[in-house]
C-alpha cells in the first residue's frame, strides 16, 4: 500500500466535497443517504400513481358502464377512444391493471423497501462511511429512473401501456398488436439492471464494510433482512431478464420462444415459426416472481424488528432464530415457484414437490412472526406511531400468510387459483403488511433525516383510518374469491353474475357477492382520504415539525442514531468501535435503559 498516494487522495477527496454544486449534491450524488432519499421520493411518487390507477379500476369494477367521476373527462382527453365519454373500456382497464401491479411491485415497493431504506440505513447501521461502490449506487438509481420513465411514458403512446397483466404471459403479451408490451420489456430491463447493481453493492458493503467489532451476529436484524433480499434480487432477477429479452425478440424480431406451433390470433394462423413454449415464460417469470415476494417482505420485517426492540425497551426474542429463518426463507424461496403454476397441466410428482417446499417455507415465516410476538411480552411498550403500524403489521401479515396456505396446497388451489382470494391474500401481505412497515419506517427515521418529528396526532389518525379501510377493502375479497369471482375482469364479474346467467346456473355470482364491489369502492375512497394527513404531515413537518432535542430521540441502540442529525458525508468522524449486540435495552445493572452498540463499556 502506498500511504502517500492515499493521504493525497484523502485530502483532495475531502476538499472536493466542501463545495459541491446543486447538481452534484442533489441530482448526481454518490452519497448513499442522498441516493436513499432520491429512491424514497421517486418510489413514493410511483406508489401514489399506482394507488390512483387502483381507484379508477375499482370504480370500473363497481360501475362498469358509468364514467369515472372527477377524472373521466381527463381520461377521455388523454386516451381518446378507450376512455370515450369518461367510461373506461376493458382494454384501458387491462392496461391499468397490468401497470398497477408492475408499478407497485417494481417501481414502488422494491425501490422503497430495499433501495430507499436500505441505502439510507444500512451503511449507518454497520458503521460504514458509505456503500462499497458509490458510483455504481448512483448508476443504479439512474437506471431505476430511466426504467420508471419508460413505464410511465408507455401510457401515452398510441395503443397505451402493456395490457397482459404484470405477469405478461405469452402468447397474449406479444399477440396484442400495440407497443405497450415493448415499452414494458425495455423498462423492465432497466429496472432489473438497477436492482442487480444495487444488490451487488449491498452485499459487498455488508460483507466488507462492517465496522470493527460489528460481527455477523451483532448486526441489526434490518441489515440481515436487506442482505438476504439482495441475494434474492441478485440471483432471481437474471432469469427474468433473459425471459424479457426473449419475449422482446418475440415481439420485435418475430421469434417464437414462447409461441407454440399452430398459434392462431384473431382466428388466423399467426405468421411465426412456432415451436416455442408458453410454459417456458411462466417458469422463468415465476423463478423471479416467487423470490420477489420475499423481496417485498424481508425489508419490512427488518423495519418491524428495529421498531419493536426500540419501543418495548427489551432485546428481540430469538435473534438467532430470526437470522436463521431469514436465511432459510431466502434459500427455499428459489425452489417453490411453480406453486403459481399448479393449473398449467402439471403432473402430480412435480406438484407434490413444489407443494412440499411451499409448506416448508411457511415455517421460517411463522418463526419470524412468533419471535416478533414474543418480543412484545413483558415489554414497556411505547405506543407511538411507528409502533402502532408495526404492531398492526403482526396480525395483518398473519392473516395474509395464513390465507396463503390454501393456495400453497395444490388441491385447494384448484378452486382458488386466479380468483379474488389470491388478490386478497397478497394484498393483505403487501398493504397492511409491507406498506405499514414502510409507513412505520418513515415515521421512525424521519427525525434522523430532518431533525424534526412528524406530528404524532396526525400519525395516529393516519394509522387508524388506514388500518380500518385496508381491512374493509380486502376482507370481502376472500369471500368473493371463494364464491368464484375471477381476477382481471373489467366488469367485476357482471357477465356471469346470477342477474345475467340466471339463479340456477352453477357458479353464477350472487347479488351479495357482486354488491360487495360498492363497499370495496367506498373503502378504497376512504383509504385514499386517509392518506391525506400522511402526505401533508410528511411535507409540513420538514419545516414545522417538533425539533428533536437529541441526535437519538427514540433512545435507540443501533449505530445510525449515534451520528449527528443529519449524518454528514462520511457518516462517522472516526471509525466506530462496536462493543455489543444491537438490542441491549434494559440491561440489568446499567443506569440507562439502553446501551448504544458503539458505547465504550
Amino acid at each position: 500500500m502506498q500511504p502517500t498516494a492515499h493521504t493525497a487522495h484523502t485530502e483532495t477527496h475531502d476538499a472536493h466535497h466542501e463545495d459541491q454544486g446543486f447538481m452534484r449534491k442533489y441530482v448526481f450524488s454518490t452519497d448513499h443517504k442522498m441516493i436513499g432519499l432520491q429512491y424514497g421520493v421517486t418510489a413514493l411518487f410511483f406508489l401514489f400513481f399506482g394507488f390512483c390507477l387502483m381507484l379508477m379500476m375499482r370504480w370500473k369494477i363497481a360501475h362498469p358502464t358509468l364514467p369515472v367521476p372527477l377524472v373521466g373527462p381527463l381520461l377521455a382527453s388523454l386516451f381518446g377512444e378507450v376512455a370515450a365519454k369518461g367510461i373506461m373500456s376493458p382494454d384501458l382497464y387491462n392496461s391499468f391493471g397490468a401497470m398497477h401491479g408492475t408499478i407497485m411491485v417494481f417501481m414502488a415497493i422494491v425501490p422503497l423497501a430495499f433501495a430507499a431504506f436500505g441505502n439510507f440505513v444500512v451503511p449507518l447501521q454497520i458503521g460504514a462511511p458509505d456503500m462499497a461502490f458509490p458510483r455504481v449506487n448512483m448508476a443504479s438509481y439512474q437506471a431505476y429512473v430511466i426504467g420508471g420513465l419508460i413505464m410511465f411514458v408507455s401510457f401515452f403512446i398510441p395503443g397505451g401501456a402493456a395490457q397482459a397483466g404484470w405477469t405478461s404471459y405469452s402468447p397474449l403479451a406479444t399477440a396484442i398488436p400495440t407497443d405497450g408490451q415493448t415499452f414494458w420489456l425495455i423498462g423492465m430491463i432497466f429496472l432489473i439492471t438497477s436492482s442487480l447493481l444495487g444488490a451487488v453493492n449491498f452485499i459487498a458493503t455488508i460483507i466488507q464494510l462492517r465496522a470493527p467489532g460489528m460481527t455477523w451476529m451483532r448486526l441489526p436484524f434490518f441489515v440481515w433482512g436487506q442482505l438476504v433480499t439482495a441475494f434474492l434480487l441478485l440471483l432471481a432477477f437474471p432469469p427474468l431478464e433473459a425471459a424479457g429479452v426473449m419475449q422482446l425478440m418475440d415481439k420485435v424480431a418475430h421469434t417464437s420462444f414462447f409461441l407454440p406451433t399452430g398459434l392462431a390470433v384473431g382466428g388466423n394462423l399467426a405468421n411465426v415459426s412456432g415451436g416455442g413454449s408458453p410454459l417456458l415464460w411462466q417458469h422463468l417469470f415465476w423463478f423471479l416472481g416467487h423470490p420477489e415476494v420475499y423481496v417485498l417482505i424481508l425489508p419490512a420485517m427488518g423495519i418491524v424488528a428495529e421498531i419493536i426492540a426500540n419501543n418495548t425497551r427489551k432485546p428481540l426474542w430469538g435473534y438467532k432464530s430470526l437470522v436463521y429463518s431469514a436465511l432459510t426463507i431466502g434459500f427455499l424461496s428459489f425452489i417453490v415457484w411453480a406453486h403459481h403454476m399448479y393449473l398449467t397441466g402439471m403432473g402430480t410428482r412435480v406438484a407434490t414437490f413444489f407443494q412440499t417446499t411451499t409448506m416448508i417455507i411457511s415455517i421460517p415465516s411463522v418463526i419470524i412472526l412468533t419471535c416478533f410476538f414474543i418480543s412484545l411480552w413483558g415489554g414497556s411498550i411505547r405506543f407511538n406511531t411507528p409502533m402502532l403500524f408495526v404492531m398492526a403489521f403482526l396480525p395483518m401479515f398473519g392473516i395474509g400468510g395464513l390465507t396463503g396456505l390454501p393456495l400453497g396446497f395444490n388441491y385447494s388451489d384448484l378452486h382458488l387459483h386466479d380468483t379474488y382470494y389470491v388478490i386478497a391474500h397478497f394484498h393483505y401481505i403487501v398493504a397492511p403488511g409491507t406498506i405499514f412497515a414502510m409507513f412505520a419506517g418513515i415515521y421512525f427515521w424521519y427525525p434522523k433525516i430532518t431533525g424534526r418529528m412528524m406530528s404524532e396526532f396526525w400519525g395516529k389518525v393516519h394509522f387508524w383510518s388506514s388500518l380500518v379501510f385496508m381491512n374493509l377493502i380486502f376482507q370481502p375479497m376472500f369471500a368473493q374469491g371463494m364464491a368464484g369471482m375471477l381476477r382481471r375482469m373489467a366488469d367485476g364479474g357482471a357477465n356471469y353474475s346470477q342477474a345475467v346467467v340466471g339463479a340456477d346456473a352453477k357458479g353464477g355470482l350472487s347479488a351479495q357477492v357482486m354488491g360487495l364491489h360498492t363497499y370495496i369502492l367506498w373503502a378504497a375512497v376512504g383509504l385514499a382520504i386517509a392518506q391525506i394527513p400522511f402526505i401533508v404531515n410528511l411535507f409540513w413537518s420538514i419545516n414545522h415539525g417538533k425539533k428533536v432535542t437529541s441526535d437519538n430521540p427514540w433512545q435507540s441502540t443501533t449505530l445510525e442514531w449515534q451520528t449527528p442529525t443529519p449524518p454528514p458525508h462520511g457518516n462517522f468522524a472516526q471509525v466506530p468501535d462496536v462493543h455489543r449486540g444491537p438490542y441491549e435495552y434494559s440491561v440489568p445493572g446499567q443506569t440507562a435503559d439502553f446501551s448504544p452498540q458503539n458505547q465504550a463499556s
Partner: protein, 105 residues
C-alpha cells in the same frame, strides 16, 4: 489480492497458466473430434461434450480466475449460485416432462 507472491515466485504461476492454456487447446480439439464419433446414442455425445466442457471450465475458473486458491466467501457465493442454476434447469425440465396422462373426471 495483495502481493502474496514476489515477482520471482510468479514465474512459477506463469508456467502453470501456460500449461492450462495448452490443456484448453487440447480440450477444444478433442471436443470437436469426439462430436464426430458415432456412439449410436446421441445422449453419449452430449455427455462426452459436456464432460469435456466442464473440464475446460474447471481449468479456466480454477486457474485463470484463481478460484482454486480463492477465499471461502467466494466459494460460498458461487456454490449457492450453482445450486440455484441447477435447480432452475432441472425443475423446469422436470415440470415439462411430468404431466397427467389420464383424465381426472
Amino acid at each position: 489480492m495483495s502481493d502474496q507472491h514476489s515477482p520471482d515466485h510468479f514465474s512459477h504461476h506463469v508456467r502453470r497458466y501456460l500449461f492450462v492454456f495448452y490443456a484448453l487447446l487440447f480440450g477444444t480439439l478433442i471436443t470437436v473430434g469426439a462430436s464426430f464419433i458415432p456412439f449410436g446414442n446421441h445422449a453419449v455425445n452430449i455427455g462426452v461434450a459436456l464432460i469435456i466442457a466442464c473440464g475446460k471450465a474447471f481449468l479456466v475458473a480454477g486457474y485463470f480466475m484463481h478460484l482454486i486458491s480463492e477465499r471461502k466467501m467466494i466459494y460460498g457465493i458461487m456454490a449457492f449460485t450453482a445450486f440455484f442454476f441447477i435447480g432452475l434447469m432441472f425443475l423446469t425440465i422436470w415440470s415439462m416432462k411430468d404431466f397427467p396422462t389420464f383424465a381426472t373426471h
